[in-house]
């Protein structure tokens, strides 16, 4: 099924999440790969996480995008603006659901486009990414995006983590 794209890149489309996406979120949160983003957990708790991700859109007017590959049409992850209560700064977050979609630069490509969108559409100036200590794959994405580790930045309410600060709108 196709849904209207909000952002398009060379290889990806970013769109608002829809109900079918919940199955991917549940699958992902059952695996150890979700351990850096609040998992793993059973399918019931995965459903509640998905409902919370999707509800963020209605509360804030924006939220994580579902990312689709243009070549296969497959939905591969959630990437985009994230600002729940208790967050010290506006965040760009990312999760790629399956290992076969890693290592091809998809997270970097989608997050970069989402960051531009946040600058232009939401008027965000300071943007961070919160990364769990030990999540070296995610740190590599942040560095490729030109984000810089800031050891003095405030942490989110969920606890200590690595705070990467993204370059400004003109970068």
């Amino acid at each position: 099924m196709t849904h209207p794209a909000i952002i398009t890149t060379d290889r990806l489309t970013l769109r608002k999440p829809v109900a079918e996406d919940v199955l991917h979120v549940q699958d992902f949160y059952e695996t150890e790969r979700s351990s850096f983003v609040g998992g793993p957990c059973d399918r019931g708790q995965g459903w509640r996480k998905a409902s919370m991700f999707f509800g963020h859109w209605m509360v804030r007017g924006y939220g994580l995008f579902t990312v689709e590959r243009k070549d296969t049409g497959a939905s591969i992850g959630l990437i985009g603006p994230w600002y729940p209560d208790g967050w010290a700064d506006h965040e760009i977050g990312w999760q790629i659901w399956r290992p076969e979609d890693e290592g091809q630069g998809f997270a970097t490509e989608a997050a970069s486009a989402a960051r531009d969108w946040c600058h232009e559409t939401l008027g965000w100036t300071r943007i961070v990414s919160y990364i769990a200590s030990g999540n070296t794959g995610s740190e590599a994405v942040a560095k490729r995006l030109g984000a810089v580790l800031d050891t003095n930045a405030p942490h989110p309410s969920t606890g200590p983590c690595l705070v990467y600060v993204h370059p400004g709108a003109s970068a």
């Binding site: 999440p17 829809v18 109900a19 919940v22 549940q26 399918r43 019931g44 708790q45 995965g46 459903w47 509640r48 998905a50 409902s51 919370m52 991700f53 999707f54 509800g55 963020h56 859109w57 209605m58 509360v59 804030r60 729940p84 209560d85 208790g86 309410s157 969920t158």
Partner: protein, 171 residues
């Protein structure tokens, strides 16, 4: 789906949004929320709010913000609720602090039950009431429910399943 607006004698049932965060955070900060997964920090309560709204995205229905028509004050969070792995679709009710004992839960739950029967086509519905939650049990009794059996959820603990009268009786 965009939630409809329902009206009862004293209440307006409408879509949840960010303006309902404050009363929900106060409810979840209080021990009164212990029967429904609380107490929670404000940050966790925000995620509960987002999750309630996301339930509409995933299911096409969910709970309503219940407001006093006269003042717009939020008095409850009430309506159809059916997250993943729930025993059956239910009508759930949470009364915000200071609004107990005025019949609001009964009045709003009845309106959402009628809506679930007429708009969603439900033919039967339950309500889960936590062991020891006497206030909630009274609401179930006033709604004409009959006690069916206990049900234990691995996270939310032991609750009783109350069965509502069917569409032909309830309306």
């Amino acid at each position: 789906m965009t939630p409809p607006t329902l009206h009862t004698e004293r209440l307006t049932l409408t879509a949840l949004n960010e303006r309902h965060f404050e009363p929900m955070a106060a409810f979840y900060a209080d021990d009164r929320s212990s029967f429904v997964g609380g107490p929670l920090t404000a940050e966790r309560a925000w995620r509960v709010l987002a999750g309630e709204i996301g339930h509409w995205t995933l299911r096409g229905y969910g709970r309503f913000a219940v407001e006093l028509t006269a003042t717009g004050e939020m008095v409850g969070l009430i309506g159809p609720w059916n997250p993943h792995a729930w025993p059956e679709p239910e009508i759930g009710w949470d009364l915000m602090n200071g609004h107990e004992g005025k019949g609001y839960a009964t009045e709003a739950a009845k309106a959402t039950r009628d809506w679930a029967y007429s708009a969603l086509g439900w033919t039967t519905v339950i309500s889960l009431v936590a062991e020891g939650n006497h206030g909630s049990r009274k609401v179930a009794e006033r709604l004409g429910c009959t006690l069916e059996r206990p049900y234990t959820h691995e996270i939310y603990g032991t609750m009783n399943i109350w069965r509502h009268p069917g569409p032909e009786v309830a309306s």
